[in-house]
């Protein structure tokens, strides 16, 4: 058996395939395995080598058609990227909600001043003071009312973001399921994992810096909210980084 027909077919297929070299090699290798199996089956039926190859190739289909099926179209690519982007926004909002929960623990453990207070000596406008004192009649000073406002608004907004994030992720899970996919598959795609690791990593650095400044320059006033968010961002960045590294190992650098 010369195998020349199969070799020519594989050359043609390889030139038509688009994507990462590793994926192309994998496809070509799988197709070659398939064609060798089909050729062997033809030989077992009593065909001569050339005829067995010809029949194996005829049964397999044209290289152009197979490559068209394997290559992602621009529309499929854009739809996938849009889905990943929305899912990442959902994860980010859930992370904000989780940071609210961690901040609430900090309020209980470290006090409201550590979690939310402005730097000592911050001056507030008369209008703001009037508004906050109106909202928090139990407060005995403008600074106290500002802190009450910061605690209630800060926690409420974070929890609300978390709920919106859960709704977004539930909607994406439903849509993914309807299209025969899973939310997990969407969020563990290479682009989603790399963007997630980079964005959450950058957020963790900025938030840690803000928290560190509050500790070093303002006696810790308000550091809790930044450090809570930094911690959640750091964990999310780590998770995405692990997924990204696994995916990068499967891709060319």
């Amino acid at each position: 058996m010369s195998g020349e027909l199969i070799e020519r077919y594989l050359d043609d297929l390889q030139m038509r395939l688009r994507g990462a070299p590793r994926q192309i090699r994998r496809t070509v290798r799988e197709v070659e395995d398939h064609l060798r199996d089909a050729t062997n089956a033809g030989l077992a039926r009593g065909l001569d080598a050339d005829e067995a190859e010809r029949q194996a190739l005829a049964a397999f289909g044209s290289a152009a058609g197979i490559a068209r099926g394997c290559n992602l179209s621009t529309w499929q690519l854009l739809r996938s990227l849009a889905g990943q982007a929305v899912a990442l926004v959902g994860v980010a909002l859930v992370a904000v909600g989780l940071s609210g929960a961690v901040t609430a623990v900090m309020v209980a453990a470290g006090g409201r001043v550590f979690a939310f207070a402005d730097p000592a000596g911050t001056r507030y406008s008369t209008a703001d003071c009037a508004h906050w004192l109106g909202q928090h009649p139990g407060a005995n000073s403008c600074a106290q009312a500002a802190l009450d406002e910061a605690v209630s608004d800060g926690l409420l907004q974070r929890f609300a973001a978390g709920v919106v994030g859960l709704i977004v992720l539930s909607a994406m899970a439903f849509l993914a399921h309807r299209n025969g996919m899973s939310l997990r598959a969407l969020l563990t795609r290479p682009v989603a994992a790399i963007v997630g690791a980079t964005a959450f990593g950058a957020a963790a650095v900025v938030l840690t810096n803000l928290g560190g400044n509050a500790v070093l320059l303002h006696a810790g006033n308000g550091a809790g909210q930044w450090l809570a968010a930094a911690g959640v961002s750091g964990v999310a960045a780590l998770c995405f980084a692990v997924i990204a590294l696994r995916r990068i190992r499967e891709m060319p650098i």
Binding site: V31, G61, G65, I66, G69, C70, S182
Partner: protein, 106 residues
């Protein structure tokens, strides 16, 4: 027949792989055998379906060595099993509805 088959290829591939992990050639041979030769698509069309299902998280795959030859073997994930159960249910409802319409007097 083949156009209808293409529209339901994902379900059929999942069904074949629900029985046991298999490589691409094995999948297409099983499809042909289990349909008594009625499903006779170009064999290569199984690969885009396998890749699509793997990208969707319904299949996982790995290289294995079989009689000294490397083969890419596909298996259902937990998500794939759930998707197969849902697709089977939808297919049966569809067949039942079509059957009811076809069986109805004109």
């Amino acid at each position: 027949m083949n156009e209808r088959l293409k529209g339901n290829l994902d379900l059929l591939v999942l069904e074949v792989l629900a029985a046991r992990p298999a490589h691409g050639y094995d999948v297409i041979v099983s499809l042909r055998d289990r349909s008594d030769g009625a499903f006779d698509l170009p064999e290569g069309t199984v690969y885009p379906a396998l890749y699509r299902l793997e990208r969707s998280g319904l299949l996982a795959s790995s290289w294995t060595s079989e009689a000294g030859r490397r083969r890419r073997v596909y298996m259902l994930t937990a998500t794939g099993r759930r998707a197969l159960a849902a697709q089977r249910r939808q297919w049966r409802e569809f067949v039942s509805a079509v059957g009811a319409v076809l069986g109805a007097p004109a």
